[in-house]
């Protein structure tokens, strides 16, 4: 007995609605965040992640009222991200009832923020999201600002820095796979050699993609479209995994 792999539906929120894009573009309306989150909890989701895409791009603060309502409604842990610039933004999210926060752009622009959050709230409260892209020359590059800005810092250096500064988990999104439904980037997962839980994200199209990601070393798998479009329920995915000898919480 030990920790079991987690299935984490991700709700990208913009203007109070859940949206889904393809390769970070073309947003489609997918419904009400609270309703959807509750539906996924009922289906057996182990955690929920809310990302406020619009907040990151438009530099707006996320809706704290929504976070409070989520905290009162859900009985499973949830993470919020988007629009975080400084420790005081993080304070607001935790005050509103979030269990964890996730940072991407802010962590790259101000890495000291990782230390500050880990010291104040503990490593378990912090997920660092890393958007990785396979460049045409074969390099792995990291991106911020919702996938629109390439960062000079090499991928490997950034991973080490994130670990050393006290992050609790890494949410790894393969941008070249996101929204394409062509499966997770298994090579990226297999190469990931660091002592933090890794949440695989980007590219889930069918239950086998989850199995492949877990087999490649993911501690958790995050997905959006496959659940929002009702192609598979969380329970469908978990049943498939259980039938393939992966222990799951049911």
């Amino acid at each position: 007995m030990s920790l079991v792999p987690r299935i984490i539906p991700c709700l990208d929120v913009a203007n109070g609605r859940v949206v889904k894009g393809t390769n970070f573009k073309q947003l489609l309306d997918m419904g009400d965040p609270i309703e959807l989150a509750l539906k996924y909890e009922t289906q057996g989701a182990d955690e929920i992640v809310f990302l406020d895409i619009k907040a990151s791009v438009d530099k707006q603060a996320s809706a704290l009222a929504m976070i409070k309502k989520v905290a009162m409604t859900l009985s499973i842990p949830f993470t919020v991200g988007g629009g975080i610039k400084q420790l005081s933004d993080v304070d607001k999210f935790f005050d509103a009832g979030a269990d964890k926060v996730t940072l991407n752009t802010a962590a790259v622009e101000n890495p000291q923020l990782i230390n500050q959050i880990a010291n104040k709230y503990g490593s378990q409260s912090l997920i660092i999201a890393i958007d990785v892209n396979h460049e045409s020359n074969g390099d792995l590059a990291i991106y911020t600002h919702g996938g629109s800005k390439r960062v000079k810092k090499p991928y490997a250096n950034w991973i080490n820095e994130v670990v050393e500064r006290g992050a609790g988990e890494v949410l790894m999104t393969a941008m070249h796979k996101d929204g394409t439904g062509s499966g997770f980037d298994l090579e990226l997962l297999k190469q990931a050699d660091f002592p933090l839980p890794i949440i695989a994200s980007g590219g889930a199209n069918k239950p086998k993609d989850f199995l492949d990601a877990i087999s490649a070393g993911a501690d958790a798998v995050l997905a959006a479209g496959i659940f929002h479009r009702d192609e598979f329920t969380v329970a469908d995915v978990k049943n498939y995994l259980i039938n393939n000898n992966i222990k799951m919480r049911i």
């Binding site: 007995m1 920790l3 009162m72 499973i76 269990d99 503990g122 988990e169 002592p195």
Partner: protein, 188 residues
Amino acid sequence: MKAGIINLNSGNLLSIVSAVEKCGCETRVITKPDANFDVLVMPGQGRFGFVCEQLNQNNWREFILDWIAQGKRFIGICVGMQVLFEKSLEDETAQGLAVFNGAIDKLKHPKTPMVGWAQLDSADTFYQNQFVYFVNSYGLPASDYCLATVNYGEQFCAIVKKDNVTGFQFHPEKSGHYGLEVLQRCLA
């Protein structure tokens, strides 16, 4: 059923308040001792020493020990459970409530902190093989009052119970529908 949720300035209380209400209880968050309840719930996040220090404020320590001595119902969650013991390796000079004998130890987790869902092991079929949500680095390796254990690197206590006092190392308020059943069982 009226439940008092003890606020020791140790983390957000919205989830635990909502969970206790979902179990059919009236709740009120209290920052000072108040005996006008059927049950008291003490959540806790962060360091053992910090929560012990908070207990030294407002006469909490005497009030809680008196409440428990009277045989009234009490629930401690996470660090709120740990401070029911004598001491902790996390902050060796801090004094726990010593409702239970024993010391909290640093656990030999494969990854620290332990964050996630793990399965309970218990002689009680209500708990056996159920999944609950843990967030901790420290814990109680063993106790005579252990009702359920969990294994992550090593075995440790997930639930302790003595008379009307129940302690949960995991977070029932974050453990889905089953977590609410667990809470309801000691609130009903």
